[in-house]
Structure formats: structure tokens, C-alpha cells
């Protein structure tokens, strides 16, 4: 087991190196560097040169890459070209804001998904199954940014029961006001995991139901509840793994929902950085999100291997 984990973790290193190289090359495709966009032509050349030098833009490409890699590896993500603030602090506060909606969203999506999927499978073929299955399929087919807009229109503007933008007051402990700000973005964000997980759970439960041991259990006269428990035990690992992956997708994919709700998370930071070509912020955020995704993947693999030892190859 330890050997499996170690191998899995070590393997992440070349992957991350590849990722960093790709991010860097992508950024080099940008027409015009960040200094071009920030420095008006009236500014004297020396000032422009100073800014370029400060961000290392005057160096050859491979040196720029190595320097950048070094700064990423040491967790010093450099300085934002626009705000002149350290990227690290901006990035981490943005990430924590995204976690704040992504974690509840994935939990909500997981609970609803498991519930809908199980109920659908247990009522296989009936109208209940059709209803729950259509809810699930709608969850994966809806453009969620559009749903967000509609939710804001209904709940924030027409009925004015929930705030439609921003994250409200800061600080801890959580106030009622903060929680209200979370509701709409969390619900919107939970649609996709809800759909995906419920479809998986339905399929898994159906499969387990069709297996012989379940019929055997029923035949042995076990009560429905115990049979159910057994089904859950068998269906949970894959659903949990999927939940982990969905969480990763939510982190990367929150950009659309954050735009709709003006949520100051990593997605809106990414959008902003693209918009103004703030390369230090842009590179850091893509790399960090990708790293988190890789780590989640490792965790999921390890978790699955723990539950089902056959996976350890």
C-alpha cells in the first residue's frame, strides 16, 4: 500500500513539470506582454524598461521559465502587474472564497445525487424513476450560468429574499447574512455534481440489484433495510471517487458561476487576469488549480485503492 502511494505521489512530479511547461508556453502565445497593456506610450522608455526588468520580461524565454518555476516551487508567486500586490495573498483569498461555495456545492450535489439515484434505481421503470432520472439528466444538460441568471432574477430581484451578488460581510463566525449570500451560488454550482453523481449511483445500484447475492440476501429473508445497507456499502466508493473529481471540476469550472454572482473567487480572479493580461496572476492561478486537481486525483486513487485492494497494480 505504501509502495502504491509513494509511486502515485512520485508520478505527480513529472506531470506537474509538464503542466508548468504547458502553462508557460500557453502564456507565451499571448500577443503582447503584460507591460504592453499597462504602460501607455507616453511613458518614457526607461520606465517601461524598468517594469519589464522587474517582471523579468527582458530575459530569454528559457530563463523566464526557470525563474518562474523557481518562484512557483517556493510558493512565492511574484507580484501582480496591475495591483502591485503579492500574487500569493490574492490567490489564496480567492481560492478560499471558491472553496466556500465549492465545498457546500459538492456536498449538496453529492447528497441530492445519491438520494435521487438510489430512489430512481429502487423504483426502476416506474414514473418516479423517470422523474428522478430526468432531474439528473437536466442537471448535466443545463447551462448552469443561465440557471444562475434566472435564480438571481427570481430570488434577488422579483422576490428580494436572497442577495444576488457578492459574498456579503467577511469574518468568522458565520453570520446569517453570509449564509444568505451563499445560497444561490451554491445551489447553481451543485447542479452538475448532482446530475453526474445521481446517474452514476442509479447505474451502480441497478447493477448491484441485478447481482445474485442481493437476490440471495432477499431470499434469506433479510429485511429491506439491511439489503439497502448492503447496496449502499457497495455503491459508495465509486460515488465518493466521482465526488472528488467533481470537486476538482468545480474549482476549475466556477469561473462562469462566479462571473454571474460577482463572487470574488479564483474563477473571477482568472477572468480578471485574462482580461488584463496579468501574467503573474494568470500563471499562478492556472498552475495552482491544476496542482490541486492533480492532488485530488491522487487522493481519489489512494482512497479507492484503500477500499478496493485490487486496484493497486
Amino acid at each position: 500500500m505504501w509502495y502504491f502511494i509513494a509511486r502515485r505521489v512520485l508520478y505527480a512530479i513529472p506531470i506537474l513539470l509538464g503542466v508548468s511547461l504547458m502553462v508557460f508556453l500557453l502564456l507565451k502565445l499571448v500577443p503582447g506582454d503584460a507591460a504592453d497593456i499597462m504602460i501607455p506610450p507616453e511613458a518614457p522608455r526607461e520606465v517601461a524598461a524598468m517594469i519589464r526588468a522587474r517582471f523579468g520580461l527582458d530575459q530569454p524565454v528559457h530563463i523566464q521559465y526557470l525563474r518562474w518555476l523557481q518562484s512557483m516551487a517556493t510558493g512565492n508567486f511574484g507580484t501582480s502587474i496591475f495591483t502591485n500586490q503579492p500574487v500569493a495573498s490574492e490567490l489564496f483569498s480567492a481560492l478560499s472564497n471558491t472553496f466556500m461555495i465549492a465545498i457546500p456545492a459538492v456536498i449538496l450535489g453529492f447528497s441530492c445525487g445519491v438520494l435521487l439515484g438510489t430512489l430512481a434505481a429502487l423504483n426502476n421503470g416506474t414514473w418516479l424513476d423517470k422523474l428522478f432520472s430526468s432531474v439528473a439528466i437536466a442537471g448535466v444538460s443545463l447551462p448552469h450560468y443561465w440557471v444562475g441568471m434566472v435564480l438571481v432574477a427570481i430570488f434577488a430581484v422579483v422576490h428580494n429574499v436572497l442577495p444576488g451578488q457578492g459574498m456579503g460581510p467577511e469574518g468568522f463566525p458565520a453570520s446569517w447574512e453570509q449564509i444568505k449570500h451563499l445560497v444561490l451560488p451554491v445551489v447553481t454550482l451543485s447542479l452538475i455534481p448532482m446530475g453526474v453523481i445521481s446517474r452514476l449511483v442509479r447505474a451502480n445500484v441497478l447493477e448491484i440489484l441485478s447481482m445474485e447475492f442481493v437476490s440471495a440476501l432477499s431470499a434469506k429473508g433479510l429485511r429491506t433495510r439491511q439489503v439497502l445497507l448492503h447496496i449502499m456499502k457497495n455503491a459508495t466508493p465509486s460515488a465518493l471517487a466521482l465526488m472528488g473529481l467533481q470537486f476538482g471540476y468545480l474549482l476549475g469550472g466556477s469561473i462562469l458561476v462566479e462571473t454571474v454572482f460577482n463572487w470574488p473567487g479564483s474563477g473571477s480572479l482568472l477572468n480578471l487576469a485574462i482580461f488584463r493580461r496579468d501574467i503573474p496572476v494568470l500563471s499562478a492561478i492556472i498552475l495552482v488549480l491544476a496542482t490541486i486537481f492533480v492532488v485530488i486525483n491522487i487522493l481519489v486513487d489512494v482512497l479507492q485503492a484503500l477500499i478496493d485492494p485490487r486496484i493497486r497494480r
Partner: protein, 292 residues
């Protein structure tokens, strides 16, 4: 995934497998009606000039954001007074294009890479699969957004970005299936009898690998449509004056307070189309008896 017995069964069955798939599909009313609806959408969209009642680019300042039924605009008008019905038809061309093309390209590229990796194994397999792992490290929307954000907006870049996004999962699936099939006895036998690699691939592997990949690809189209529209929504996708559902949604959302119905229409079209693709994929999956 496939069990050996199943594959052999299918291979032995030959044509009759596809016959059975067709039979199963023909009795699946939901899949049939969804496919029919989808076919209708595709035909209407492709033949947009026939079905459109107006020029989709002609605007009228006096007739902006009118509700359905306004003076010859049976679906109403958009924010600069263009006929919404005609816009939706013409817009569908780009939306479907952005839905289908990336999946098609990804299928071509990813499918061949996966086949190559799975069939050859060894170093080639490692090289292909390890580079895919790198692409896999990006959550899909992030990768698409990053590529479009760097290369700039436009339909070509949108398709490129989504293609890159979809290649890794397709490679993975085709590689897994190919590896499984490759090790089966009848393929080994073909190899031993000195058949050329290409013909082995064509006759034995392709036959067994195509099903799962196709099923997976149809479900990707739904994601592709939503993502492409999402990119346009962020201002990174299709550029005006081309009509595209995501872009229309982006422009019309300013009008959600003035005429919510009109503003919601492009979103509804995205929803309906992507739902159709999802349901069709489900139908195909059960008909082809593919487990993912």
C-alpha cells in the same frame, strides 16, 4: 468494461450485433423521439435560410426586445430588433458546429492516439498516455478558458480549445478498450497468423472499440455545446456579428428585466439540444450494451 467472453461473443456474432443494436433502438421510444427532435433541430438549423422569416442581421431600433407574436416576429426580437426565430436558426449553426466539431476532431485524434497506444503498448503507449496525463491535470473548463483566453476569441480558437480539452478522455477510453481487446485470443491468433497490423486494427479492434467511444462521444457533444456557449458567455468564444446561442444569451441577458421570456430563449435552446444529445447517448449506450 468488456469481459472477454462478451467480446468473443460479439466478434462471433459479427453483423448480428449491430442488427440487434438496431432492433433495440427501434423499440426505445424515448431515444427515438429524442433523435427525431434532434434531427429536426439539425435540419432546421442547416436549412436556416429556408425556415428563417427574416434576415438575421437586419436590426430595427424601433422594434427592440418585442415579445413573441410581435408583427411578424413570432418569437419576438432581440436587443437590436433582429428577428429572434431567424437568429436562433442561424445561431444554431455555430452552436452545433461548436458542439460537434471539437468532438469529431477529438475523436479522430484521440481515437487514433488511443488505438496506437493500446495496440503498440510499450514505449509508445507510455509516451502517449503520459502526455495525456498532463492534459488531464487541467479541469476541463479551466483548460478551455486558458487556451481561449490566450489565443483570443473566435470560432476557430473555440473549436481548437475544446478539441484539446476532449482529447485526453477519448484517448484513455480507446486505449483501455484496445488494450483489453488486443490481449484477447482471437487478436493474438490474427497476429500469430501474420496478418498486417492495420488489417488487425480494422477488422478486430475497431469493431469492438468503436461502440464505447461513439457512445462516449455523443455525451461529449452535450458538454461541448454547453462549454462553447459558456466561452461565448465570458466573451472568449464566437465573435459577433455571428449569431451563436451562448453569445445571444450573453447579449440578451441585459434584457432579462425588460423581456425575460426573450432573454431566456437562447438558454432554453442550449438546454434542449444538450439534453437531447445526453438522452440519445443514454439510449445508444443501453442499446449497444456498453458499460462505461
Amino acid at each position: 468494461m468488456l469481459t472477454e467472453a462478451e467480446v468473443i461473443k460479439r466478434a462471433a456474432a459479427g453483423k448480428s450485433y449491430w442488427v440487434r443494436v438496431r432492433e433495440r433502438l427501434l423499440v426505445d421510444r424515448l431515444t427515438l423521439s429524442v433523435t427525431l427532435l434532434l434531427a429536426m433541430i439539425v435540419i432546421m438549423v442547416l436549412a436556416a435560410p429556408v425556415f428563417a422569416t427574416h434576415d438575421p442581421t437586419i436590426s430595427s431600433v424601433m422594434a427592440r426586445l418585442k415579445s413573441p407574436g410581435y408583427e411578424g416576429h413570432w418569437l419576438g426580437t432581440d436587443e437590436v430588433g433582429r428577428d429572434l426565430w431567424s437568429r436562433i436558426l442561424y445561431g444554431g449553426r455555430y452552436s452545433l458546429l461548436c458542439g460537434v466539431m471539437p468532438v469529431f476532431f477529438a475523436l479522430l485524434i484521440g481515437g487514433s492516439l488511443g488505438l496506437a497506444a493500446g495496440y503498440s503498448g510499450g514505449t509508445i503507449n507510455s509516451i502517449i498516455m503520459r502526455s495525456m496525463d498532463i492534459l488531464y491535470a487541467f479541469p476541463s473548463i479551466l483548460l478551455a478558458v486558458a487556451i481561449c483566453g490566450m489565443l483570443g476569441s473566435g470560432i476557430g480558437n473555440t473549436i481548437l480549445a475544446l478539441t484539446v480539452t476532449f482529447i485526453p478522455p477519448i484517448v484513455r477510453i480507446s486505449e483501455t478498450v484496445t488494450t483489453q481487446v488486443r490481449s484477447l485470443e482471437f487478436v493474438e491468433a490474427a497476429r500469430a497468423s501474420g496478418a498486417r497490423p492495420l488489417s488487425i486494427v480494422r477488422f478486430h479492434i475497431l469493431n469492438n472499440v468503436l461502440g464505447p467511444i461513439l457512445v462516449y462521444a455523443t455525451s461529449l457533444i452535450s458538454i461541448s455545446i454547453i462549454l462553447a456557449a459558456g466561452l461565448s458567455f465570458l466573451g472568449l468564444g464566437v465573435t459577433p456579428p455571428d449569431a451563436e446561442w451562448g453569445l445571444m444569451l450573453n447579449n440578451l441577458r441585459q434584457a432579462i428585466w425588460v423581456n425575460p421570456l426573450v432573454a431566456a430563449l437562447p438558454g432554453a435552446m442550449i438546454f434542449i439540444t444538450s439534453m437531447c444529445f445526453n438522452l440519445m447517448s443514454d439510449g445508444l449506450r443501453s442499446a449497444m450494451d456498453v458499460r462505461m
